[in-house]
């Protein structure tokens, strides 16, 4: 896994962005940018050559699930690995995210080891 890969963290709560960013830093990732909802994130993704997207679900403006769908619908972004980190934990929602093409799903409250495990798994599959 490339520790220099460019990661976009999308969450409407700045504290959560900060926590995820710190956890990613602890895992050795330093090239991290932030957005506070899907509508802000999508243009960044289209321009920014990101390697990995970590997004919340429930956000004002554009939600994480809509962002995921938009990413999958864009040929240039369709293969971007996407990890959802969200408090939305209904069975139907997880199925919805899976059908929309999510690569990993972490339910809040979560911890560092869980985040690491999911990221490792995503990139094992992507590279394998």
């Amino acid at each position: 896994m490339d520790r220099n890969m460019k990661i976009l963290v999308v969450d409407d709560f700045s504290t959560m962005r900060r926590i995820i960013k710190n956890l990613l830093k602890e895992l050795g990732f330093t090239n991290i940018e932030e957005a506070d909802d899907g509508a802000t994130a999508l243009p960044m993704l289209k321009q920014g050559h990101f390697d990995f997207l970590v997004t919340d679900w429930n956000m004002p403006g554009m939600t994480g699930i809509d962002l995921l769908k938009a990413v999958r619908a864009d040929p240039a972004l369709a293969h971007l690995p996407v990890l959802m980190v969200t408090a939305e934990a209904k069975r139907e929602q997880i199925i919805m995210a899976a059908q929309a093409g999510v690569n990993g799903y972490v339910v809040k409250p979560f911890n560092g080891p869980t985040l690491k495990e999911k990221i490792d798994k995503i990139f094992e599959r992507v590279q394998g």
Binding site: D11, F13, T15, M16, R18, I19, L23, A87, F110, G112
Partner: protein
Amino acid sequence: MEESEKLSRLIQARALVAALEAHDEAGYLASLNALAASQTQPMFEAVGRMTREVHEALMAFATDDRLNLLAEDEMPDARDRLRYVITLTEQAANRTLTLVEEALPVADRLMDRAERLQQALGQIRQSQVDNVALVGVITELAEYLDSVQQDGGALKTRLTDIMMAQEFQDLSGQLLLRVIALLETLEGKMLGLLQKTHPVASEKPVALTQAALSQGLGPGVPGAKNHSSAAEPIKNQDDVDDLLANLGF
């Protein structure tokens, strides 16, 4: 069906049969109507009763100044308070995160330095094996540096746990935002209902209503003065129709 009711139905039915047999068309129609009315009348009465109850409830609702106060003042106030809770928890979480972000590199530096010293000491120990006193000190120092590295790791784990605990701000904030949205919806619906049932009252400044209340005088709003008449039961179909028209039916 009660006995008396059964009896009157029987009489109506017999009259219907008799009129039919006698080729009395007017009598037949009258009996038929009477029978039909016996079925629909209780329903009309029930509708009338329910309408009256709705009307009374609406009047009581509109004339309750407490509701105006609630919709126009206290609910927005409650929303502001909840937003302030989000701000306060956000500030607290950010402050904690800043402290953790500052403390983590301190732990890293302690551990790095301990590791480098450990290596340097190892080399010295190799070259000074004959100096028993020095080797003793070096061994003790090495143990200390070892514990610094272990403690540093434990410290970092705790600091990360403290950081993760700040997650509460996101979760509680999301819950509060939902309550705020609910309050907004409720407030809008209440104001809409108050406008419909009591347009003047909701346009009035709340302070005036409060002042009027504290003086024990009814404010000059329609409905408040007529409270007793509003509580009077509706007497006939015209009243029902008028009321329904007023309610926008």
